[in-house]
């Protein structure tokens, strides 16, 4: 199915020795509400390395989408990012994203860091044709050569395996869900950003369509070495596409590591709980178990470890002292007082319990 498409304009990034293009330093985000301050993100420190794909996984309310929107500064007005720092680097220059004025911020979005949103239909202007929207975007970024923009966009449409003639003069509602999502990915690549943030890129798509989007994202990762941040509640997206995984819970990264470590040697009880809650199709018949309780109230967080009310290993210490990320292996970190107990549990019971068939 793949067609030869000239994407030579995409600058391959030197993956060795260079500084990470994106660094989050102790980022906090809170929302003001009548009932109090909702602490959606609490102290996230994370580097996004050049050419890597990092998956932020977690359930609703874990703060993953807030964090993604915070990076491109698209949060609602009631949100406040403080304290914390977001540093963006490209070609030796360094930007403090949180202090960018409107003009440079617009440049940063899309040209440096593009975001693909969850709801592909809402991301389009319903009364503009796809091409008009693309042309508007290009002009807003002072790219005024109509022929050149069109040429580039046609290339991109071919890259995402769409028929350019069919898509370019269509309205969003005339495209299927999968076509819309591809078009959106094509538009996000228009200005050759260094970083792509993808919020639930395959959620709400049908299975076969999902597969084509996953394959497309894999080509972006493997062939073009885009630096990507995936935000998803779906462990499978992380398993399929990520080099590294960050598990988020109650606004914090509670475990961070290479994808094999998170899936086969998880050390945080929440990561393990998620893995044991999700069935596979081809993995034989597993016994599943869910995590008791429900996510915490973000206005009124429990003391100590935020996961302790739901945690099978919780001890006295967990309800008083909040654990921080600590090294548990090469490039593998977990924020838990009982990583040993998690390890023992897996040794004793296996990662997933197989039922005999």
């Amino acid at each position: 199915m793949s067609q030869a498409t000239d994407l030579s304009w995409h600058q391959n990034i030197d993956e060795n020795g260079s500084q990470p293009p994106l660094s989050l330093q102790d980022v906090h985000v809170s929302y003001r509400t009548r009932k109090g301050s909702v602490q959606a993100v609490r102290g996230v420190t994370l580097d996004l390395k050049a050419g890597e794909s990092l998956a932020l996984i977690g359930e609703s309310g874990s703060g993953k989408t807030t964090l993604g929107l915070g990076i491109v500064r698209l949060l609602v007005e009631t949100a406040e990012v403080s304290p914390g720092k977001i540093i963006y680097r490209r070609d030796g220059r360094e930007l403090d994203v949180l202090s960018l004025a409107d003009g440079p911020l617009r440049e940063f979005r899309w040209r440096d860091c593009a975001m693909v949103f969850q709801s592909a239909l809402n991301a389009f202007n319903p009364v503009l044709k796809v091409w008009d929207q693309v042309w508007d975007t290009a002009k807003a970024h002072r790219w005024n050569n109509r022929e050149e923009v069109r040429e580039r966009f046609l290339d991109l449409l071919r890259f995402v395996q769409l028929d350019p003639a069919r898509v370019i003069d269509s309205y969003a509602h005339e495209l299927s869900g999968g076509m819309r999502q591809r078009t959106l990915i094509a538009i996000s690549l228009l200005l050759d950003p260094q970083i792509l943030i993808l919020d639930e890129p395959t959620t709400a798509l049908d299975i076969l369509t999902q597969r084509t989007i996953i394959d497309l994202l894999r080509r972006l990762k493997e062939d073009l070495h885009f630096t990507m941040l995936f935000i998803s509640h779906d462990l499978a997206i992380a398993a399929e596409l990520a080099d590294r995984v960050a598990t988020m819970y109650a606004g914090q990264v509670v475990e961070l590591g290479p994808v094999e470590d998170i899936f086969y040697r998880p050390r945080h009880p929440y990561s393990l709980g998620l893995i044991r809650a999700v069935p596979t199709v081809t993995g034989g018949f597993e016994e599943l178990s869910s995590i008791p309780g429900s996510p915490p109230d973000l206005i009124n967080l429990p003391a100590g470890c935020k996961f302790h009310p739901r945690c099978p290993y919780a001890s006295e210490r967990c309800s008083n002292e909040e654990p921080q990320l600590e090294r548990v292996g090469d490039n593998h970190f977990a924020a838990c007082w009982h990583t040993d107990a998690v390890e023992e549990d897996i040794e004793r019971n296996g990662l997933r319990v197989r039922r005999s068939t």
Binding site: M1, E59, S60, Q161, S176, G178, T202, D206, I207, L208, T209, Q210, R211, T212, I214, H233, D234, L235, A236, I237, A238, A239, E240, V259, E260, F263, Y264, G273, L274, I275, A277, V278, P279, T280, V281, T282, G283, F285, E286, L288, S289, S290, I291, P292, S294, P295, R355, T357
Partner: protein
């Protein structure tokens, strides 16, 4: 045993003239009491329409739906009421299916009172009213316990907006149980619930099957969930309004025969990096789903199918044929070929 629900060549059209679509095209399905049947397929395959017809929310355009051997369109009023009580549905979106102005108590008590009034109509008199209220209160508490909303006192006076998605879905289940159903259609009932909570909801539904003899028709787009929930039951796969394959779950998952089933199984992303890498994908000839307004001739999957036999698949509508390994397949070309997927 006689099937509790039986579909005989059921067809459903929507619209008319040139805008007419066939959402469900002559499907037949028997569900025995105590069985778990999963209906899987992508959006537009007719699985939800089928579910709505089974509970009587939509009349079929053609064909018959039988409840305990009786055609529901030919029932007298009393039998029809009994059928509507016995066959309940749990919807996908617990945010939309619960009345936001009612407390949990009100939502559960209303059908209980009505149900009780219907059962004891004629013998009702003023003096029993307080007693009846107490009965209803007790039953409401029991039902909340059954769906694991405990401590019950904490939940009775809550409004839906004070509950999480999983808790709301439990209220939906408790509400369905007020009328002691024998058959529940669960239409994507856990799709909107967070993964960590999904399993406990599924396990709760399984318990209902064992403890209260409820038979389930579980409708989902998620094959992994279908596999888990219906491991001891059957999976029926629909594509563009037709059943393309059905069979005992283990056979269907490990040795599917219809190319569409294989395409689905191969495409499902796996929450395991090694499985994800190893998995075989069936390459389709086209990624686009045909429009229901303009369905392909013959087998509706033929424009996408890699195994197409020209002159056969595009002309004749394949019939569901039994296979010796269990179940049936609507693909004469591949029905005897072992699966390459899995």
């Amino acid at each position: 045993m006689a099937p509790i629900i039986e579909l005989r060549n059921v067809t459903k059209y929507f619209g008319s003239g040139r805008d007419q679509v066939t959402a469900v095209d002559s499907i037949s399905l028997d569900i025995e009491p105590g069985e778990i049947v999963c209906l899987v397929g992508e959006s537009g395959c007719g699985k939800s329409t089928t579910g709505r017809m089974v509970v009587g929310l939509l009349p079929p355009s053609e064909g018959q739906i039988l409840y305990q051997g009786q055609d529901i369109s030919a029932m007298d009023k009393a039998d029809y009421q009994q059928y509507r009580r016995a066959v309940q549905i749990i919807h996908q979106d617990p945010y939309a299916s619960l009345n936001p102005t009612q407390t949990v108590r009100q939502m559960i008590a209303a059908p209980l009172l009505r149900h009780q009034a219907q059962r004891s109509s004629g013998s009702a008199n003023g003096s029993g009213r307080r007693e009846r209220r107490r009965d209803v209160e007790r039953r409401a508490a029991e039902l909340l316990e059954i769906v694991d909303l405990t401590p019950v006192a904490e939940f009775l006076d809550k409004y839906p907006h004070q509950l999480s998605g999983g808790q709301r879905q439990r209220v939906s289940v408790a509400r369905a149980l007020t009328v002691e159903p024998k058959f529940i259609v669960a239409d994507e009932a856990v799709s909107m619930v967070d993964v960590s909570i999904r399993v406990s909801l599924l396990n709760m539904l399984s318990r209902l099957k064992d403890e209260f003899d409820v038979t389930f028709l579980f409708i989902t787009h998620d094959l992994a969930l279908a596999k888990y929930f219906a491991w001891e039951g059957r999976i029926t796969v629909m594509y563009l309004g037709r059943i393309v394959e059905e069979g005992p779950t283990p056979r269907l998952i490990t040795d599917s025969r219809h190319p569409y089933t294989q395409a689905l199984l191969g495409a499902v992303p796996e929450a395991d990096p090694e499985l994800a890498k190893k998995k075989v994908h069936l390459e389709l000839r086209s990624a686009e789903i045909p429009s229901l307004l303009n369905l392909p001739t013959g087998c509706t999957f033929h424009p996408r199918c890699p195994y197409i036999v020209e002159g056969e698949c595009d002309t004749a509508v394949p019939l569901l044929e039994h296979i010796s390994d269990g179940g049936s397949v609507a693909c004469p070309v591949r029905k005897s070929e072992p699966s390459l997927i899995v």
